[in-house]
Subunit: 281 residues, 2 copies
């Protein structure tokens, strides 16, 4: 087996994708990773599909200038709107977070009653709902709920306590009376609320797309050939804008320190690569 030292490129609209990086680091410790967080244009969730597709192509293009071997779209909104287009425009393997989350939910749900929670944009896109209907071999009952207050709750560091509990109850309590036995955390911020959700809703299976996606990357055909073993990989972080609280939040998401952090004038990058990128839009 040859080793392929090229990094895995990962991008997200901001810092949420670091929960995916965290899982990639755990499951593929030998791999180098390059992370791009488009913090200058965060969030993608409130933007139109067309804009998100453009942003996803620009982020992917940036990553490919770093000689990567795969792209992980660690952002639910971008996975929903742009996975296919990115796959069609770039010749390396491209992974989204939706397919792995759906596969894990179907594998783990006993009664095939699955609730998808996410930002308004993700829920409205129906990407999870469509994928679930598409791949389920048996009947599956799909429930969905947008939880717009979860992201600010996490970014405010309120991972537990009375306010977190009340907000979680506000969105999820009514599903406890249903047949739902599995919940897809369809937003990269939500795994940080896992403990609080589990405390309110004991017995439910929570699907963390970060774990599912890292698993999918690890087990993919295209990847097995290139997996780095017997090495300790390093991760490089590129942000399109820098604000102080990013470091604090980022490290919570990542579970450890962000070394090799750099800020890129992405707008300038986009303008100066306009001619190459215009072929990709």
């Amino acid at each position: 087996m040859s080793t392929d030292n090229r990094p895995i490129g990962v991008f997200d609209s901001g810092l949420g994708g670091l929960t995916v990086v965290c899982e990639l680091q755990k499951q593929l410790p030998g791999e180098n990773i390059i992370y791009f967080g488009d913090t200058a244009r965060v969030p993608y969730g409130t933007k139109s599909a067309k804009t998100v597709q453009k942003y996803a192509i620009e982020a992917s293009y940036l990553l490919t200038t770093h000689n990567i071997k795969a792209i992980v779209i660690a952002c639910n909104t971008a996975s929903a709107h742009a996975l296919k287009i990115v796959q069609s425009k770039f010749s390396i393997p491209v992974f989204g977070v939706i397919e792995p989350g759906v596969a894990a939910a179907l594998a783990q749900s006993k009664n095939k009653n699955v609730l998808i929670i996410g930002t308004s944009g993700t829920i409205k896109s129906e990407a999870y709902q469509n994928r679930l209907s598409e791949v389920s071999e048996s009947e599956v009952t799909i429930w969905s709920q947008a939880c717009p207050l979860f992201v600010p709750l996490v970014e405010e560091g309120m991972l537990e306590g009375e306010i977190a509990t009340q907000i979680i109850r506000f969105y999820l309590q009514r599903f406890q009376k249903t047949q739902v036995d599995t919940v897809i955390l369809g937003c990269t911020h939500y795994p940080l609320l896992k403990n609080s959700i589990a405390a309110i809703w004991p017995g439910v299976t929570l699907i963390d797309s970060g774990i599912a996606t890292a698993n999918a990357v690890k087990n993919s055909d295209s990847f097995e050939k290139s997996e780095n073993r017997n090495k300790t990989g390093h991760t490089r972080y590129i942000l399109s804008d820098f604000a102080e609280n990013f470091l604090k939040i980022g490290q919570t998401f990542l579970g450890n320190e962000m070394h090799h952090l750099e800020v890129l004038d992405f707008e300038h990058f986009v303008v100066s690569h306009q001619s190459e990128m215009s072929k990709l839009y």
Copy 2:
């Protein structure tokens, strides 16, 4: 007195500035208004000062292409970081939301104990704090508190009820034991929480910068000459991106319907006016 039919240009990072438009419409019903909401790049509050200055110049430049007679920066973050630079680059009067809010607070506070609340970006910028120290003739005690959950709360439509009450208490309760008698709502979203804040904290004076800013525009020397009277003005809305929920939220902010709504490819606008704008940065 001559009438000057040119519109007043107003911009914000998104839709919050519509609370300022609402007050302008009430106080200056004869004026035409052109509103630009940079919804493709919302929010500004998490972005660096340099990025916000660039965005503010671009938004101002866009407005000036519509032959406006004044610019209102209806965004606290942009007022904090970019008022002076916009004033220095454009030859028409430019108003921010901070100065009027501070003046109103000083006029209305009896014991000169003023609390400023806003997004993390606004509070950290210390723009309100500095302005208060600058213009206060007597001793003033300044308190400040960032309330990052207020914006998503408003955007989720939770203007009252148990969760709103708890979140307001979480941020503000401790100030009820202090000498604070006046609170500056240092974010254009916050006026929508006015009733809930007043219910929890009876007797406190809440300063709505929308009202204060519209007042400042109306009473400014430069403006009195050009105020349109005996007419019904109309408002035009330009957004840099369109998502469905904008309409719903926008109309809550505005208190009435948004007619004349258009979406502009602002990124394209910026690129194609690069040479004119590069002189302004």
